[in-house]
């Protein structure tokens, strides 16, 4: 057994054979089925999760217990639990590792959550590329079924639950919960009007709770050890741990689990082992590509929902993208913008047309045909998307660009004036070898 990679979800993640029910049970897995399902009332479960302060790990950070309590109690309609495993935010890859290595923890979390909201059908919505995870999860669900942990009468408690996996068709927007539900119903994956919120009218217009993989995986720990135990990590308002997917030229990129509130710099210096030789941090996108970037001067910001918001960005899904001093910010943002242009679902005008337009302007800047007014145009087009789009995808496309222009305007201007990047590692290397004119 290798060294523990984190305090909670990653504590035993690398245990060999953890995917199998036997090994998982050996670690104390599925104990809660006996101690919670049937033993505690659903309301008690919701209260415990509320008291723990667990907040959604998918990006928005909405309190999980509170969300559960929105499910109408007396509704005659069936209720559904949906696990959002569409993990498609660029820079985020935590759910993938969690599901790949510890599928039973997710199943246990879904059983407990379904019990709390009294849902008898649960769906695991996986992004299209997670076909191999569908096999892993399918196997784990099969094992659980055989062991009586899923089905008509779970471990003799009288509670019944069936779980299904569903593979998306490859659209970023299906990570948005209402678009996910549309897609799950077989319609075009496009967001729906809210209200009604899914907790009231979700899948097939029935009360539905949509939770992220990481969120659901925290639930068994909380119900097993209690709310106060969970609060030993993190801050008052953002308790628990967070798995951060770090990418960029750091020594140890990858998933790292840290207590919430840890300063960003501590993450980069500690678990990530600092920057690779020859690189310095220019900026960090802390929560996946859709959040505004944080300049290097703000690396002291804590990795929790409140501190990030105070610093003008978002913790999001925890995809920490480290941008080094040799990466051209215009190049980086062009890359991100092209992604949003490609992924805009097309439902609303600002996002559909705006992302296309932004992408076209970026292309001109990149190809050396940029004009002075293009920088303001880019900013204004982004501003016209921000807050006017149907869902958050438009904001996600607009915010990073606006942030980049605010913090690194000189790089944009350099692009216009000199028809090339201000910083470029390859060019720097060429210049060092052959002199300045060589790379122009």
């Amino acid at each position: 057994m290798s060294a523990s990679r984190g305090p909670l979800l990653f504590q035993d993640i690398d245990t060999p054979g953890l995917r199998s029910l036997e090994v998982y049970r050996g670690q104390g897995g599925y104990q809660t089925i006996g101690t919670v399902v049937g033993a505690k009332t659903p309301d008690e479960c919701i209260e415990i999760v509320k008291a723990s302060g667990l907040r959604g790990r998918g990006g928005a950070g909405f309190p999980t217990g509170l969300k559960w309590s929105f499910v109408p109690k007396g509704s005659p309609k069936p209720k559904y639990l949906v696990c959002n495993a569409d993990e498609s935010e660029p820079g985020t890859f935590k759910d993938r590792e969690l599901m790949e290595k510890n599928p039973h923890l997710l199943i246990e979390g879904m059983i407990l959550s379904a019990y709390a909201i009294q849902a008898h059908v649960g769906y695991l919505y996986l992004r299209g590329e997670f076909e191999y995870l569908q096999r892993i999860l399918g196997q784990a669900i099969g094992e659980a079924q055989v062991a009586g942990l899923l089905g008509d009468d779970i471990a003799g408690s009288g509670f019944r639950l069936e779980l299904h996996t569903h593979l998306g068709a490859g659209a970023y927007i299906c990570g948005e919960e209402t678009a996910l539900l549309s897609s799950l119903e077989g319609y075009r994956g496009q967001p729906r009007l809210k209200p009604p919120f899914p907790a009231v009218e979700g899948l097939y217009a029935c009360p539905t709770i949509v939770n992220n993989v990481e969120t659901l995986m925290n639930v068994p720990h909380i119900l097993r050890h209690g709310a106060q135990w969970f609060r030993q990590w993190g801050t008052e308002k953002s308790p628990g741990t967070k798995i951060l997917s770090v990418s960029g030229p750091v020594q140890r990129p990858g998933n790292h689990e840290v207590p919430m509130g840890l300063p960003l710099s501590a993450l980069l210096e500690g678990p990530c082992g600092g920057m690779r030789e020859g690189f310095r941090v220019k900026a960090v996108i802390p929560g996946g590509s859709s959040v505004p970037l944080l300049p290097a001067s703000r690396l002291d910001t804590g990795l929790d929902f409140e501190s990030m918001a105070a610093a003008g960005t978002l913790l999001g899904s925890g995809g920490v993208i480290v941008i080094d001093d040799q990466t051209c910010i215009v190049d980086a943002l062009y890359n991100i913008t092209r992604f949003y242009e490609h992924e805009s679902c097309g439902k609303c005008t600002p996002c559909r047309e705006g992302t296309y337009w932004m992408s076209e302007v970026f292309e001109r800047l990149e190809s050396g045909h940029g004009r002075e007014r293009d920088i303001d145009l880019l900013f204004d087009v982004s501003d016209n998307i921000l807050g006017k789009s149907f869902c958050a995808l438009g904001d996600a496309a607009a915010m990073p660009v606006m942030g980049a222009i605010q913090h690194f305007r000189e790089e944009f201007e350099y692009h216009v004036k000199h028809k090339r990047c201000l910083v470029n590692r390859r060019r720097a290397e060429l210049e060092a070898r052959f002199g300045e004119t060589a790379a122009v």
């Binding site: 927007i173 679902c345 097309g346 600002p350 992302t355 001109r364 016209n384 149907f390």
Partner: protein
């Protein structure tokens, strides 16, 4: 929901019900909020974002009271983001700003985005000049474009014969896709790809398989979907536009004709006018070609020798009048009969019967030329509740339960079908469709109850439904006459035991009882019937049965509930109202009623015949037997509409004088001695009454085609030539006389009949009092009640499907064709394709025919030959042949018997093979 909310829009306060959308509240406040994706018949979407406004609520202090700022005004907490007015519902005290800097910037931004990829091809776009994007760009857009990148482009695409798609112009408002799904129930359109590459098309990118209604074109706010028949024909500002009433079915949609010169170039709906608003079916939208047809009659025709020769109008009038006068003098007035009139205006129908009754003295007047049975004139009125307020189409959408008896609304009343579909989709309407075939509304998609009764078992089904309703609690508010009839009805229906019902209808008693229960328990309900019952040999018993069922289920006593007669033609109801009936004067005044008759006699200046005349089928028999010598047939191709073609041919051959008013030289006109060229609906004024019993005014969009005259002028000329002192200068003169004389139209004003008219009703005193299962009128005896209500009980059950006697002929309307007018263009017949005889796959196997092979269908009187189509929706033991195609004369097969028309079918030999077209 109806609690009023005070909303402040740009400083102007309006009071609207809670639940109102901000767009509607703004309209109340006379503030213009632009929209694209929002549509009155579709739920809010919030996609286009053009309607963004700033929204705020009064700030509340800790005491939950509004915080007052400087000047004593409540402080407003504005929402951080702009909101879409088309999705936000009002709340009390809400403040809305449409012209604040934030709102204006957001709106201008959206406008700019909408034009990012929109081509600037307005000069060659059919929508140009009436394009919402153009108008809003003018109102809210920038005066320059900051977008100078390449626009994304798509190829244009023809989606079948009516829809042209130019995807570059599309702003992805999704109105077309949603309208097709939620209002039409067709689901023919979808969006492909995503983002800026989103493209509307059919699912398989093949021509649309749908009703071809073109409503997707209508709701498109830009020129992305345009009508192929109108493409590049005109600029909208070159067209005179006239909103008039559609000439096709009895739904009476408002249709906006676009006229240039003397030519109708297009027909459209109108978003805020008429009962139908933007909706039109394929006939209404593309069936205007006949108006411009070169085949229109342009001169009267006289048959002096053996052939019809052109004649002058005065000559024709003199000839017709003198011949009518002679025949009346020699053989008596009872030798003259007037037929048809379901397609002329109310005023013309009124003058037609006035000419018959007051000038010639005959009561042989009937517009119901298709009916095979002699039925009293008030039977339909009684079945629909005897003058109680009629159902509106808006109420139909909000009904909880709708029972459709035997009709395929797709062909007979497309707008009614669209309303039912929208009700089902948006308001939880439940459908019960009684039809032997799986018609569109019986489809699984609409989640209704399909009562697929055995062909010909209409009466047993209705009796069984009534039997089941008798076991349910009585609805409140039944009139005394109805309650009196109950014991007799119970007795009469006693023989309908479950086993007998099941044997006769082929349905389980449980499903029939379920249908009756749903109808009884719904608060708002509607029962719809039409030709399937009235053009049935047992029409009278069926109409009584409808009335019985309606009373017992509360359809005639509950609020916002009613029975609707979806008649076959655009003015079927008006013809009935105006006394084109052998036993009723205008307004359903019985001809025997001396007191009621007196008012007409005084006005018309002379005694009127007091004995009821012959009904249409009786006239048919009498004329064929040579008893009736003169026939005047108006707006009716009698050879095709009469139930028995052989008899009709005989009648026309025997008659000494046949006068026909027609637009075209139809088969019937060819058999006439005098043919008057009539003006089309677009060329004359007048009132039409739809199946809601709504009076709507036809507007003259064109001058009458050269040589043609409106029917009322023809009637007046002949009446004058016969010596009558008629002096109507305009149609309005006629209508004023009607409004004075006909009890049901009393108080109607010509000027008030636009735009959507008024429904007539006599709520305080029903024109015909309600009574259960009785004969027409009040004085029915118990025995009569029993006899009528028990009708059908005497039959030994309907034939079983395997009976050797052959197949039951099923017929019905088709969407693309209706009547001779629809045959005159090129588009509708092309869409309708060739007629086919549809067989169940098993039946086809039994007959050893395959799809496309010719089938010979033989009835008692003749035979027809048609290619076969295989359709599992047609029940075994029957063959379905639509009656709308010009080359299919179903009445050649013989008159239908009690349980429908039985025919034999066999595969025609190769030599006889006809084009499978």
């Amino acid at each position: 929901m109806s609690r009023p909310c005070r909303v402040n829009v740009n400083g102007r306060i309006v009071e609207v019900p809670s639940g109102t959308l901000l767009t509607d509240a703004a309209r109340e406040a006379e503030v213009h909020v632009p929209i694209f994706c929002s549509h009155g018949k579709l739920p809010p979407l919030g996609a286009c974002r053009i309607c963004v406004v700033e929204v705020g609520m009064p700030k509340l202090g800790p005491d939950r009271q509004p915080v007052l700022g400087a000047g004593g005004q409540p402080e407003i907490a504005w929402m951080p983001k702009v909101q879409t007015a088309c999705t936000t519902t009002v709340s009390d005290g809400m403040h809305v700003l449409t012209e604040s800097p934030a709102a204006v910037k957001a709106r201008k931004g959206v406008m700019e985005f909408l034009l990012v990829n929109h081509p600037l091809d307005c000069p060659v776009c059919d929508e140009g000049g009436e394009c919402q994007l153009q108008d809003l760009a003018f109102a809210f857009g920038h005066d320059f474009s900051r977008m100078d990148e390449a626009k994304r482009t798509f190829d244009s695409e023809d989606l079948g014969p009516v829809v042209k798609k130019e995807a570059n112009r599309c702003i992805v408002c999704m109105r077309c896709v949603r309208y097709c799904d939620e209002v039409m129930g067709d689901d023919a359109l979808t969006a492909h790809q995503r983002g800026v590459w989103t493209e509307i098309s059919s699912f398989n990118r093949q021509p649309l398989e749908c009703e071809q209604c073109g409503n997707c074109i209508e709701v498109c706010p830009v020129g992305a979907l345009t009508a192929l028949p109108y493409r590049f024909k005109a600029r909208p500002w070159d067209l005179r536009q006239h909103v008039t009433v559609c000439p096709y079915c009895s739904n009476g949609c408002s249709v906006r004709l676009g006229v240039r010169g003397a030519e109708v170039l297009r027909a459209r709906g109108t978003e805020f006018r008429g009962i139908n608003r933007e909706y039109l079916c394929v006939r209404g939208r593309f069936g205007y070609e006949f108006i411009n047809s070169p085949e229109r009659l342009s001169t009267p025709l006289l048959k002096l020798g053996g052939t019809l020769e052109p004649a002058g109008f005065d000559e024709a009038v003199t000839f017709a009048a003198s011949r009518l006068g002679e025949i009346a003098a020699v053989h008596g007035p009872a030798s003259i009969a007037f037929l048809g009139g379901e397609k002329v205006t109310v005023e013309e129908a009124y003058l037609f019967q006035k000419l018959a009754r007051a000038v010639l003295g005959t009561n042989h007047v009937d517009s119901r030329t298709r009916w095979p049975a002699a039925v009293p004139g008030r039977a339909v009125l009684k079945a629909t509740g005897g003058g109680r307020p009629a159902l509106t189409f808006e109420e139909l959408v909000h009904a909880q339960e709708v029972l459709i008896l035997g009709d395929d609304l797709q062909g007979e009343g497309p707008f009614a079908q669209a309303q039912v579909i929208r009700g089902q989709h948006q308001h939880g309407l439940h459908l019960t469709v009684a039809h032997p075939r799986r018609v569109k509304l019986a489809g699984v998609k609409f989640q209704g109850l399909w009562l697929d009764y055995r062909p010909g078992a209409e009466l047993p089904l209705l009796q069984a439904l009534t039997r089941a309703a008798l076991d349910l609690p009585r609805p409140s508010g039944l009139p005394a006459e109805v309650l009196e009839g109950l014991p007799a009805l119970e007795q009469a229906l006693a023989p309908w035991t479950p086993s007998r019902v099941e044997q006769a209808t082929g349905l389980s008693m449980a499903s029939i009882a379920d249908a009756a229960r749903r109808l009884r328990e719904a608060e708002r309900k509607a029962v719809l019937f039409g030709r399937a019952l009235t053009e049935h040999p047992e029409a009278l018993a069926l109409l009584h049965a409808v009335e019985n069922l309606a009373w017992l289920c509360g359809a005639l006593s509950a609020e916002r509930s009613a029975v609707m007669y979806v008649g076959p033609q655009n003015d079927t109801q008006g013809a009935l109202d105006m006394g084109l009936l052998p036993d009723c004067l205008p307004g359903y005044v019985a001809v025997e009623d001396a007191q009621g008759r007196r008012a007409f006699e005084q006005q018309w200046g002379g005694p009127l015949p007091s004995v009821p005349g012959k009904t249409a089928p009786e006239i048919l028999e009498a004329a064929a037997a040579g008893e009736i010598k003169a026939l005047w047939i108006v707006s009716d191709n009698w050879l095709r509409s009469a139930p028995d073609r052989r008899l009709a041919e005989q009648a026309l051959g025997e008659a000494e004088l046949v006068i026909v008013n027609e637009l075209f030289l139809t088969e019937t006109a060819r058999a006439a001695h005098v043919v008057f060229p009539a003006s089309s609906f677009a060329e004359k004024e007048g009132v039409m009454v739809n199946c809601e019993r709504r009076l709507q005014k036809n507007v003259r969009a064109l001058s009458p085609r050269k040589g043609s005259r409106p029917d009322w002028e023809i009637f007046q000329s002949v009446a004058q030539a016969l010596g009558a002192r008629w002096s109507y200068r305009t149609v309005e003169d006629v209508f004023r006389e009607i409004a004075r004389l006909a009890p049901n139209y009393r108080g109607m004003h010509w000027a008030s009949l636009l735009p959507s008219g008024a429904q007539w009703a006599s709520a305080d005193r029903p024109v015909v009092p309600g009574s259960l299962g009785g004969a027409d009128g009040a004085g029915a005896t118990r025995d009569e009640v029993a006899a009528r209500a028990g009708g059908g009980a005497a039959t030994d059950g309907a034939p079983s499907p395997s009976a050797p006697a052959g197949l039951v002929l099923l017929s019905g309307g088709v969407l693309f064709l209706q009547g001779s007018l629809s045959q005159r263009g090129s588009l509708l017949p092309r869409l309708a394709r060739a007629a086919r005889a549809s067989l169940h796959p098993e039946e086809a196997k039994r007959l050893r025919v395959a799809a496309g092979e010719p089938l010979e269908i033989e009835g008692s009187a003749g035979h027809i030959r048609l290619p076969v189509a295989i359709d599992p929706g047609v029940p075994e033991g029957s063959v379905f042949v639509p009656y709308a195609h010009a080359d299919v004369d179903l009445n050649r097969l013989g008159a239908p018997g009690r349980a429908g028309l039985r025919v034999t079918a066999r595969r025609a030999t190769e030599l006889e093979r006809i084009g499978a077209g």
